[in-house]
Symmetry: C2
Subunit: 147 residues, 2 copies
Amino acid sequence: MKESGRKHGALSPCAACKLLRRRCAEDCVFAPYFPPDEPHKFASVHKVFGASNVNKMLQELPEHQRRDAVSSMVYEANARVRDPVYGCVGAISSLQQQIHSLQTQLAAAQAEVVHMRMRQFSSSSNAGGAMDMAVDQANMGESLWSC
Amino acid sequence: MKESGRKHGALSPCAACKLLRRRCAEDCVFAPYFPPDEPHKFASVHKVFGASNVNKMLQELPEHQRRDAVSSMVYEANARVRDPVYGCVGAISSLQQQIHSLQTQLAAAQAEVVHMRMRQFSSSSNAGGAMDMAVDQANMGESLWSC
C-alpha cells in the first residue's frame, strides 16, 4: 500500500513538522506516520534519535517497511525515555532471565515425568498381574517421549 | 568508581573525537567509553542516535551509570544497523515468542505430572496392598504441588 498520501490535509502540518516548526510539504516523509493528533510519538523519536537520523533511516527504507520502522523506533525511544540507562535493552535482559527461569522449570517438570514413568514401569514389573491395569492406563511410551 | 580518567593519553583522541574531527579535551564525555582502538562502537551510536544526542544523554546521567548506558546504546545501535526496520525490537518480539512457547510446553508438562499422579493414586486405591509400595515410592504430595 502506498503510504505517501496525507490524511490530515495541507492545512494541518504533521506532528514532526509542527515540532520542527517547518512547512509540511505534500511529500513530507514524516507525515504518513506522525499525524498531528499524536505529537508524543515524534517528540520521543526526536529526543532519542534526532529528526535528521529518523528522516535518513526512513529515506533508506522502501515505503512498505517504513510504518514498521517507525513503530519500532517509537517503542525504542519510549523505552529509552522511561529508562535512560538501559532503554529497551533492559527489557531484553529481563526477557532473557524469564526464558532461563522457564527453561529450568520445564527441564524439572520433564525430568519428573520421566522419573514417574520409570517408577511406574518398575512398580508394574514388581507387582505383576495386579499392576497390569495401572501400566495400561499409564499408556507407557506414548507421552513420555513426546516431551 | 570515577570514570573521568583518560586511558589513552592526551595525544590519542578518543574514537568519538576522531570521527567528529574535533579536539579531544581532557574532560571529554565520550573518552572513557569510546577508546580509539574500538572505532566501530562510536560509529554505530553516531549513525543511529547522533553524537549530539549521545552527548546529551550521557550528560544527563551520573557518571557511575554512563558505562551501562553506553553499552546499551551500542547494543541498540548495532541491532538497528543490522536490522533497520525492527532494530532490537525484533529481538524483543522473538524472545516474547520463545517465552510463549516455553509457557505452553511447561503447562503441558505440569499437566502431565498432575495427570500421572492422579492415575497413580487411582491405581493404588484399586490395587490395594500390592500398590502400597508404588504409592510410597511416588512420594505423593511432595513434588506434585511444587510444580
